[in-house]
Amino acid sequence: MTTTLPTDSSARLPGLIRRLTGDEKHAPSAHSTTDVLQVLYDRVLRVTPDTADDPQRDRFLLSKGHGPAAYYAVLAAHGFIPDAWLDDLAGPASRLGHHPDRLLVPGVEIGSGSLGHGLGLAVGTALGLRAQGLLNPRVYVLLGDAELDEGSNHEAIAYAGATGLDSLTAIVVDNSSASHGWAGGIASRFTVNGWTADTVDGRNHEALYAALTGHRPRHPHLVVARTESKG
């Protein structure tokens, strides 16, 4: 299959995000997921609009469906959706809502919004690919630190770790928004269950790239991407 050549969407993203939000004041970094998504789609994921239905593609599942502006902008920057779709977010005829719907948006692997569903779906996706001998695709799933409050995540964390599901990478964007925090750190919840983990600056593209490609054999991998607190 065709793989994604490294591309750089930095020049286009600010304008695309502005089309979605109408917000002239804030930089793209106002969105905690922007940098992770940019590095994933520019440099890591082997998926293009032409291979969006190819069984051999990498999967990216946005579990944290809230605030998908950066996600839609990155999808537009990479040609999955027309730029014009960004101008009518959540309008009556829009295919883009405040939470993404996989049946409405090309390139979107799961519909999400209710927190705590993406990781279980990602585990099932990784298992389904393995069962069909599709050993090249990797499954990435992005969560938020507050999303980890949902207990369903911990079912998936324990099981994926115990079974060494090594085609799975979870990314937790940590902007310190969990009401009760995570004493002892987020990564420890995963590593105690057998995951490998890298905790990096969620704005540093080189560090993100190294972490997002830093998985090891026989273990699912976690990337904690720290960004500034929501405040």
Partner: protein
């Protein structure tokens, strides 16, 4: 004699051997019965532990990759506990699965309310009209229904019970007439294992008794063809679950409806399933009292 759970296990084992699309997701229930299948097909027999939210999430993920997942547990854990996963990880993703439950209604009478789920079919109704609901009344109906489910990609719920009729009617997807009354006789519809007590209860009454193992989609053309003024529903789950469907199907014709089934109240009693059937008025005597009262005659 084989029970429904064993019929499911035998058929699912065979499907795993025959069809590489079939995958089974378990949550510690019935794991021993699939031990040898899990050795033969370690990537397609998956026990996630006591994690029912994950069981359905995994089923959704498997279906997204093109496999046909079967997920199985007690109804209360499979359906009630994982309701939002069924809604979002299957329905909202646009994928299906075969959900196979045991412990129907008060099968788990001695276990208490925590192991009972009389409202499961009503929960599927709340998800829209996409789900096919199969409620076999005999173990021999299980294999053909499961095999049929495994070949499609539709969302299908197969509700197994320890209650059973004496005879199997595998072809009763639509309403199948078991006993025909005289012209304009009232229609009594029995679902799944309620057939035998219904037949016993209406002995000597001038009624038509029809049977189905598939309450969703309900055979509304068959219902319209068989129904006259009086219609009685006898369902093995929450009373009134199908009332809205019957009312809609007969909206343009004058009719009266009696909907019998499991009561809504938590009885807080143990005992055996026959005790619960009696307490809910679903044994032959109780059904006869209710149906006779509704029809205004004691019958034969």
């Amino acid at each position: 004699m084989t029970d429904m759970r064993t019929a499911f296990i035998d058929t699912a084992n065979a499907l795993l051997d025959e069809n590489p699309r079939t995958a089974l997701v378990l949550a510690d229930i019935s794991v021993a019965q699939f031990a040898s299948a899990s050795h033969r097909h370690p990537d397609r027999v998956l026990n996630v532990g006591i994690r029912e939210q994950l069981m359905i999430g995994v089923a959704g993920g498997l279906a997204l990759t093109g496999l046909r997942p079967i997920a199985h547990s007690y109804a209360t854990f499979l359906v009630d506990r994982a309701y939002e996963q069924i809604k979002l990880d299957l329905d909202h993703q646009g994928v299906g699965a075969v959900l196979v439950s045991i412990g129907a209604s008060y099968d788990g009478s001695a276990e208490g309310r925590t192991h009972q789920s009389p409202g499961d079919v009503a929960l599927f109704d709340s998800l829209g009209d996409g789900w096919t609901v199969r409620v076999p009344g005999h173990p021999d109906e299980v294999a053909p229904l499961l095999r049929n489910a495994a070949t499609s990609d539709d969302p299908i719920y197969l509700r197994l019970s320890e209650q059973r009729n004496a005879e199997a009617y595998p072809d009763a997807t639509g309403l199948r007439v078991i006993r025909r009354g005289l012209t304009n006789a009232p229609l009594v519809v029995a679902v799944g294992p309620m057939l035998d007590p219904t037949v016993a209860a209406t002995e000597g009454m001038d009624v038509t008794v029809a049977y189905t193992h598939t309450p969703r989609p309900l055979d509304t053309p068959g219902l319209r063809a068989l129904a006259n003024t009086d219609v009685v529903l006898v369902e093995p789950y929450l009373a009134g679950t199908s009332s809205a469907l019957v009312s809609r199907a007969l909206a343009d014709v004058p009719h009266r409806l009696l909907a019998l089934g499991v009561g809504q109240t938590d009885l807080r009693r143990y005992g055996d399933p026959a005790d619960h059937a009696r307490w809910h008025g679903l044994d032959a005597d109780g059904l006869r009292r209710s149906i006779s009262g509704f029809l205004g005659s004691v019958g034969g």
